[in-house]
Subunit: 176 residues, 2 copies
DNA sequence: AGCAACATGTAATTGGTTACATGATTTA
DNA sequence: TAAATCATGTAACCAATTACATGTTGCT
């Protein structure tokens, strides 16, 4: 369901686009909230067209197919946004390592923590870079799309880094 | 893979247990980092036994089967903890709503934010309650298992609440 | 006797990843 | 003309959810 919503959202914001275009947007823009590859996107677009949420204009330049959101699609998207109670199943390898951390010796645990910190720092840098470019060329009217989610992601990364520092100090008071 | 690790972790911490016991632990303890139901757990235990990571003592009281972690299982678990670089695919309905928030009118967006806040507050309360009981009866030696992950979860929930308040104020400066 | 909790499984379906497969256009 | 990028698809597999299915023990 959410893949469908993400696609409707992108089509709604940036107008008609091909599966290829949308795949690129998944790689470069929406990927920090939802991920999908072309092998998942192409079949989903076909189903969405069959369901009347989008229309297809076949045969652009290289067999390129342009999809446009319909009124029904816009309605479906709006309904999901205002009605859907989000359920985010917790399934995180990082949190699982945190959970089982006491099974390790202090030096091993500190290693794991520094790895988790490094991952969070990389993510933080990526998100901040994205925000910087976003702010620099802020895409006309719709520049706010993605902005709040970016902020949320940055805050979560900072929180993870903070937690790791705090936890390391608790495991080894000397290393702080 | 991670389901397997979670099961090995629980067996390592609390000693031999049945599929039923482990299912209960998934519901009550490890569920805030990894979720699974019995229909996923039973077949996985069978595979793990076939792979030599655990052994089975069949036929307790009601057809109850007791699983015990082997040396190989312990090694596999340890290796995963110290070597595995965690990859947490981002796929969050809540973040997707945040991403698409600017598609809504201000009042609609504020509604969505208050729903996200409510969800985070519920989670926060759950995690704090868990921590309180955990600290009260801190299970002998192994009470620290799960503790750091609990702390991480609580911090993330607080961050989400903070973000939602901040974002609401940005959308409607009057409502703050 | 009946209900709740214990206890284990399988089947059907959906969602997602990796790998396979093919062809068109642009650019160096 | 060769490589890169554009462009679309399918197949095999793994992970996860929901529903179906069955039997046991303890308690009231």
């Amino acid at each position: 369901m959410s893949l469908r919503i993400a696609l409707l959202g992108l089509l709604s914001v940036s107008g008609p686009a091909s599966g290829y275009d949308l795949t690129k947007k998944f790689e470069t823009s929406i990927n920090y909230v939802w991920q999908a590859g072309h092998s998942q996107i192409y079949p989903e677009l076909a189903k969405m067209a069959a369901d009347g949420l989008i229309t297809v204009e076949p045969e652009g330049p290289r067999g390129r197919k342009i999809y446009t959101i319909t009124r029904e699609g816009t309605d479906e998207l709006h309904r999901w946004l205002v009605e859907r109670v989000p359920t985010d199943p917790v399934r995180s390898e990082g949190a699982l390592q945190a959970f089982l951390l006491p099974l390790l010796s202090a030096p091993e645990a500190l290693d794991v923590l520094s790895r988790l910190t490094a991952a969070a720092e990389t993510r933080l840098a990526d998100l901040r870079a994205l925000r910087a470019t976003k702010l620099a060329l802020h895409e006309s009217d719709q520049w706010k799309i993605g902005y709040y989610a970016l902020d949320l992601g940055i805050r979560h990364a900072l929180t993870t880094i903070d937690w790791a520092r705090h936890t390391a100090a608790e495991i080894d008071p000397g290393s702080a």
